[in-house]
Amino acid sequence: MVATRVFEAKEKGASLYVVDPRRIRLAEFADEYAEIEPGTNLAFVNALIHIIIEEDLYDHKFVAERVENFEAVKESVKDCTAKWAEEITNIPAETIENIARGFAGADKGSVLYAMGITQHKTGTKNVASLANLVMITGNVGREGTGLNPLRGQNNVQGACDLGALPNVLPGYQKAVDPATKEKYGKVWGDFSCFDGNKIPEMFDRIDEGKMKALYVMGENPVLSDPDQQHVMHCLEKVDFMVVQDIFLSETAQYADVVLPGASFLEKDGSFTNTERRAQLIHKALEPIGESKPDWLILAELMQMFGYEGSYENPSAVMDEINTLVPQYGGITYERIQDVGLQWPCPNLDHPGTQYLHKDKFIRGKGLMTVTPYEEPGEQADEEYPLIMTTGRVHHHYHTGTMTREVWTLDREYPGGFVEINKADAEKMGLWDHQMVKISSRRGSITAKAVITDNIKEGVVFMSFHFAESPVNKLTSQVVDPVTKIPEYKVTAVRIEVA
């Protein structure tokens, strides 16, 4: 969907720069394509910032008026030359320079990124460095600019907005802040409120015997979380486990209780998409079998737990959101019948917010962060000479819980595969579509070799859609220290004929 807009912009004369260790389809349309070594994003972005400052291409006015900590960042990147970055990223210095100059020279520059930025040990810093880049070039708060994380799910934004995070209540209100507890307490009554565990930490707590029960909703950690052995061990160990999902996933096999959820077609409600736009969905089918919409399952559970309030329908839930979540104060079902509204939308007269940080950052001035380059958690060595990076294919969604049920999608990619560069395959004497064994320091899996020019030498690509080739048996437990996002993008592996 986003690429369609990119194509449109290209046709209107925009320049496109693609940075990816895989020569993705979009790379074919790029003015510059940078085939980056996995795990070296920071070196690349810091070099861009270095060049832009060094060649005086930055937006002086924006930096002076809207940003703080510029000097510290400038100082921190002073040695990050294109030549230096070339050594680390394997991107030719000239390409880095061209991208820096091109991006700085654009009157509107937009950065689109997804998991290739975040699923690293340095995920938070990677995002911060890109924020530095858009701030020094003044590409914030205007149409066609900004730092745009592309969401992998239709409603991941909405889920985060409404508190599906371990440390905040709906509206990103800090759980440990007494004011938050007081505010919500007025509506919900007494409840416990503390910083919870992030997903990888939950498994560790289970392993330590400190967490006894697990409730998994619409998530398939057996396939999607790193170090599958560890995850399966913990799921076996936990005393009580509930899974709420629309299909009986690999994770649901471990559950004591399975609550069948209704699909998007079978329920009313709203989703909030990647541009913070809350939109209505309408039921087209009655829920199949015993399944129920997620909101109803939760509402019924709450009542069983003794909560006194009740919700009649999703609209009633939204009424409560309006009163408790400032960003959603004016987002009512009446107002989002047609094209939806973008938050922040604090009250009924507010038209919604098309661009964040338009004249002013939420915190006042934009804080630039010093983000020095760090090596990824794993390095290739003699025993594991290749770097595996993981991702998706067009025809499957995540762990395939849904898409592998659809013959036409599953037919396109019927099983696990590993993309290997031609030169590497030749060295190993592999032929196309041969079954190979891929091993990391954690374990081994098998998959079909796909020999291609579309991946860097020394790098292999696998996707995590296939239970029969569970990539996360191989990935490491290295995580970003702040967000605990696993480093799915860099795993040292070895490949042999199966």
Partner: protein
């Protein structure tokens, strides 16, 4: 006869029709106008086109072909064509889509009638509403099919300043006129209003933003199959299949088995040549790459369909352009084609010169109940030929079918109920009437299941399909048969006929090849045949064998010393396309003519009747026109099999 409808009465007329049959009219806004049940509200009349073509009402996205139930050790098979079909009137269809119906009528009902399409088509009345404006991707006028509907509709409305002109084209249209007699009256000035209508169409045509000269597009395409621009224009395709889903003339389908306990259904879904798997073989070989896949769609729409059926394959609706997420545009591609065809070095390619004025094949398909319904047969015997090839002996449960069996064709479709269907060549001759036998190699899910079956188990049979070897035409000649591995099975049918009439042929050489000795099939037959005077049987293996007296190496090495009169020899080769080419080259060098080398190209044959589209190569449907071709014909096809 032209009728007049006052604008105020349109909704009243719709109300009258709705009392007779379910009426669907355009509702919605802008690009999202769809046919929905008429609810009393005025329909939306301000739209360039409906979001989707009317195709979905005639050829449903998913529909059952037949159902089966296991009962008392056998299977009861029931036709599902027409199940749940209700009479419908579709109002507001544009000319590009009525032409689409005109073509799909020809495609589905022309020969080998599709029973499912027939049921829906008979129940559907199409009311066209002529276009007075055009969208930015519209080019129906350049294709000569619009903007006013000429075919495919039952009734057509043309909006003038003060009224609608209403004209019927069929009996169904006449019925609509009769039902609406309160609001329709005969136009007092017939000739004048017809003239007015033509003038109006001319004006609308002139207003089109896209004006193309497509009069020579077939030849232009014949020159640009290998042009450089394809890579650039087509490589972005991500196989989302949006273009084929919204196309009024796309007709391909795939079948899927649905099973519940001891019963099930075979359903068909829309399929798309733009998905990679559409032509992917077992073993991951795919004759079409990302680029040639996208190119195939353009050739099919602008050339192959017209060559085969004499109808436009593209109606110029422009939906594929609007729907493509990677901005692949048939208009942009037409521009590139016409540009490239003008270059002095652009030459007509032999693989793109096809002159097929569609002819009904001499052999009709035996349809006992419906095109897609198998007849139940019992496995009477199974014989191991090689470790992964078995010979199955089958008999129809309905013995009448054997009695009335007319020997013809080249293959059958064998169903394992609940698992799927495979195309298997006919290895027997016309004298064998009371039972059939087939050599089946274990390669996929259906054949695996077949191999696991026991005598007494039931399967489904459809067929025979396809064009067989021209046995009569090759009488009096020397015969060379080359069969690689299981490839000997499809040729067996001809060998049997030749052996039964041995005196009518010259010298006969049969060459069987395989990697290992245990890969040879029909070894008992081969031994029997080798005893017949004038028949020579030769074996060649890649790996040496102690079991059998075989040459180690390619059979090509043996050809020069076979002592055949090459000018008067017909060769029959059954192998992979690559092997066919290698052997044929040597035979040509020995003095044979390409037309005397026969082969069978069994690629992706599924429905057997030129409907599902999987085996289409250029303008050819392998399952109907083939799979038997001579070498010259094979070279004249696009290299996509």
């Amino acid at each position: 006869m032209i009728y007049k409808l006052s604008k105020d009465n349109l909704n009243n007329l719709l109300g009258v029709w709705n009392k007779q049959q379910q009426l669907l009219v355009p509702y919605g806004q802008k690009d999202n106008v769809m046919l929905l049940p008429w609810n009393g509200d005025e329909p939306q009349l301000d739209y360039i086109n409906l979001a989707l073509p009317v195709k979905e009402f005639l050829f449903e996205q998913k529909e059952a072909l037949f159902s089966w139930e296991k009962k008392d050790g056998t299977f009861e098979v029931n036709n599902e064509a027409g199940t749940g079909v209700e009479k419908k009137i579709l109002f507001g269809i544009r000319a590009c889509d009525t032409y689409g119906v005109f073509y799909t009528d020809r495609f589905y009902l022309g020969e080998f009638e599709d029973t499912n399409y027939r049921a829906r088509r008979d129940a559907t009345t199409v009311v066209a509403l002529n276009c007075l404006t055009s969208g930015k991707n519209c080019f129906c006028s350049s294709q000569g099919v619009g903007p006013f509907s000429k075919a495919g509709h039952d009734l057509v409305l043309t909006e003038l300043e003060d009224c609608y002109l209403v004209e019927s084209a069929t009996d169904k249209g006449d019925r609509l006129i009769a039902w609406g007699h309160d609001y329709l009256r005969r136009h007092e000035a017939q000739a004048l209003s017809a003239e007015k209508k033509d003038e109006l169409e001319q004006k609308v045509k002139e207003g089109f933003q896209v004006q193309l000269d497509l009069s020579n597009i077939g030849e232009e395409l014949s020159k640009t199959f290998d042009a450089d621009f394809w890579e650039e224009e087509a490589h972005a395709c991500i196989s989302c299949t949006g273009c084929t889903s919204v196309c009024p003339t796309c007709t391909c389908f795939n079948v899927v088995e649905e099973v519940e306990g001891d019963a099930g259904r075979r359903v068909r879904y829309w399929d798309s040549c733009q998905s990679a798997h559409f032509t992917r073989n077992a073993g991951d070989h795919n004759p079409r790459s990302n680029v040639s896949r996208a190119r195939y769609r353009i050739y099919d729409k602008l050339k192959y369909i017209e060559e085969r059926f004499g109808y436009k394959g593209c109606t110029g609706c422009g939906r594929c352009i609007a729907t493509c997420p990677t901005n692949i545009s048939i208009l942009k591609i037409i521009e590139r084609i016409q540009e490239a065809a003008k270059k002095p070095d652009a030459k007509l390619l032999v693989s793109q010169i096809t002159e097929i004025a569609y002819q009904r094949p001499e052999n009709d398909i035996a349809m006992h109940k419906s095109l897609y319904m198998p007849d139940v047969a019992t496995i009477t015997k199974m014989v191991d030929e090689t470790p992964d090839i078995k010979r199955f002996f089958l008999e129809y449960d309905d013995k009448e079918l054997h009695k009335n069996f007319k020997f013809k064709g080249q293959f059958f479709e064998i169903s394992v109920f609940g698992v799927g269907e495979v195309a298997i060549s006919i290895p027997f001759g016309p004298s064998q009437r009371d039972h059939f036998d087939f050599c089946i190699k274990k390669v996929g899910s259906v054949t695996e299941k077949l191999h696991a079956m026991q005598p007494g188990d039931k399967v489904g049979l459809r067929g025979p399909f396809g064009k067989s070897f021209p046995y009569e035409e090759i009488k009096g000649r020397d015969i060379l048969v080359v069969g690689s591995g299981v490839g000997l099975a499809p040729v067996r049918t001809m060998i049997v006929q030749i052996m039964e009439n041995r005196e009518e042929f010259g010298k006969i050489v049969i060459m069987a090849s395989a990697l290992h000795d245990y890969g040879l099939v029909l070894t008992d037959d081969l031994e029997e045949w080798s005893k017949i005077p004038g028949v020579v049987v030769k074996y060649s293996l890649k790996y040496p064998s102690d079991e059998i007296d075989a040459y180690t190496g390619y059979i090509n090495d043996l050809l020069p010393d076979l002592g055949l009169a090459w000018q008067n020899t017909t060769a029959v080769i059954c192998a992979s396309p690559r092997r066919i080419k290698k052997v044929s080259k040597d035979l040509l060098a020995l003095g044979m003519k390409g037309t005397d080398i026969l082969t069978t190209l069994e690629t992706h044959m599924r429905c057997g009747s030129g409907k599902c589209g999987h085996c289409k190569v250029g303008s050819h449907y392998m399952c109907v026109d083939g799979p038997v071709y001579n070498y010259e014909e094979m070279l004249n096809m696009p290299p996509e099999f």
